[in-house]
Assembly symmetry: C2
Homo-oligomer: 220 residues x 2
DNA sequence: TTTCGCATAATTGTATACAATTATACTATG
DNA sequence: CATAGTATAATTGTATACAATTATGCGAAA
C-alpha cells in the first residue's frame, strides 16, 4: 500500500489532502505553512508546494500574501459531482468494455469477491478501500488518461460520503451486486450494457443517499 | 487582461503552461528548474512550485530525483477530451439554462456579436480569445464549481487545436452560429434545448476536425 | 469608551545554501 | 578497443535566510 518511492513533498501533499477530505481540517480553516510543517516535521518548502497543488485541485483557496484556506465541501458539490459522474462513468465503462485487459478483469473479479466477504462482516474500512480499487481499476481500463484523471479525482473527493453510505449493510451488498453486473458486461465486452449499468450504479448511489438524508452525509 | 494581483509563482505557472500548450516546449522535453528560472529571471523555488502544479494537471511528468518532462498531447487525448466534453457541455448548458444571470446572458450576447465581426475579418487570435470567453462564461453560468473546473481545464487543454480549426472562415462562422443558438436557448431558459445544442456544438466541432484531418491538428 | 496611528510581530514570497541523488567523463584494466 | 569503476559535475530535494506584506496590540487623542 505505502508506495515508498515518493518524495517528502508528495507525502505532505497526500497527508494534507486526506486531512481535508476526512474532515480533520475544517472548512475555512487557515492552513499555516509553519504550523503544518512543524506538525509533520518538515520545513515550509514541501508544505508550500503541497498547498499550491491543493489549490489547483480546488481543495484549498490561496489569497496571495494572506494565506491558504480549506475549501469546504458542500451538499451541492456532492450532488454536482454525482450528476457529472453519472454521465462520465457510463462513458468510462463503455470504453473499458472495448479496451479492458484480461489482467484488469481478473483484478475486478477479485475485488468484488473480496468485497462480498467484507460486506457480510460489515467491515466498512475494507469496503471503502475495495470500492476505491474497483473504480480505480475501471477508470484505468478505459484506456483514457483524461477519463482516469477526472473520475479518480471526483471519486476521491466524495470519499467521506462513501464512508457513510457503505456503513449500511444492505447498500454495501447492493453496491457490490451492481459492481458484479458491470464486471459481467465487461467480460462479454458488451459496451452498451456496461455503459447502462455503470450509469445506473451511480443513480442507485444517489437514490440511496436521498434515502439516508443529506444532512447526515454532509454538514453544510 | 493581465491580472496583476498574481504572485510571481502564479505567473511562472501560467507561462510554463502556455509554453507547453502552445508547443514551445515539445513532448518529452526535460524541464530543468535552473534553466527555466534563468530564462524567466526567477529562482528555482517558484519554478518548482509551478512544475509540481503542472504535474497535477497532467501536463508534466515528474520522476523523483530525476527531472520533469513535458507530457505530449496525443491524437487520442484530443479525441477523448472531445468525447468527454460532448457529454459534459450538454449537462453544463442544461444547468446554465436554469441558473444563468442577466449579466452573464448580456456577456454571452456581446461575445457572439464581437465574434461575428472578427470571423468576417478572419482575425483568428481574437476568435480564439472570444471562444475562450464564451465557454468560460457558460461554464461559470452552470453555477457548479466542479463543472467549471473540469470543462475549463479541458477547453484550455485543446487550445492549440482550436487555433487551427478557427482559421477556417466557414467553421468560425458556423461555430459562432451555434453559439448564438445556445444563447437563445439560455435566454428562454429552455434547459432541454440548451443541452441538445451544446452537445451538438461539440459534435460539429469534432466533425469539422475529421474533415480537416487529424494529422494537420496534432503531430502524434 | 472608541478609534486612529504606529510599532511590533507573524506570515507569506522569494532566493540561496546545503544535502542527496543522478548524470557524465575519464582512467585503468581486461 | 570495450568496459567497469570512480571521481566530478549537474540536478533535484529540503532547509534556512531574508524581503515584502499583512496581522496584532498598545497608546494617544477625540
Amino acid at each position: 500500500m505505502s508506495e515508498d518511492n515518493h518524495s517528502l513533498g508528495a507525502r505532505v501533499f497526500h497527508i494534507i489532502r486526506e486531512n481535508i477530505l476526512s474532515g480533520k481540517y475544517t472548512a475555512n480553516e487557515e492552513l499555516k505553512e509553519k504550523s503544518i510543517g512543524e506538525e509533520l516535521g518538515v520545513s515550509r518548502t514541501p508544505v508550500r508546494e503541497a498547498l499550491r497543488q491543493l489549490e489547483l485541485e480546488g481543495l484549498v483557496s490561496i489569497i496571495p500574501n494572506k494565506g491558504a484556506y480549506v475549501v469546504g465541501i458542500t451538499k451541492k458539490d456532492i450532488r454536482d459531482i454525482y450528476e457529472i459522474r453519472e454521465r462520465l462513468e457510463g462513458l468510462c465503462a463503455k470504453w473499458a468494455a472495448l479496451y479492458i485487459t484480461k489482467e484488469q478483469l481478473d483484478e475486478l473479479e477479485e475485488i468484488v469477491f473480496l468485497a462480498d466477504f467484507h460486506a457480510k462482516k460489515g467491515n466498512v474500512g475494507q469496503l471503502v478501500e475495495l470500492d476505491n480499487k474497483f473504480h480505480e481499476t475501471l477508470y484505468k481500463a478505459s484506456g483514457s488518461k483524461e477519463m482516469y484523471h477526472v473520475l479518480s479525482d471526483f471519486h476521491h473527493y466524495v470519499q467521506r460520503v462513501r464512508k457513510i453510505t457503505l456503513t449500511s449493510e444492505k447498500r454495501a451488498a447492493d453496491s457490490n451486486k451492481e459492481h458484479m453486473m458491470i464486471v459481467e458486461a465487461l467480460k462479454e465486452h458488451n459496451a452498451e450494457l456496461a455503459e447502462k449499468l455503470a450509469s445506473q450504479h451511480i443513480l442507485s448511489t444517489v437514490e440511496n443517499m436521498d434515502r439516508i438524508g443529506w444532512d447526515v452525509l454532509v454538514s453544510q
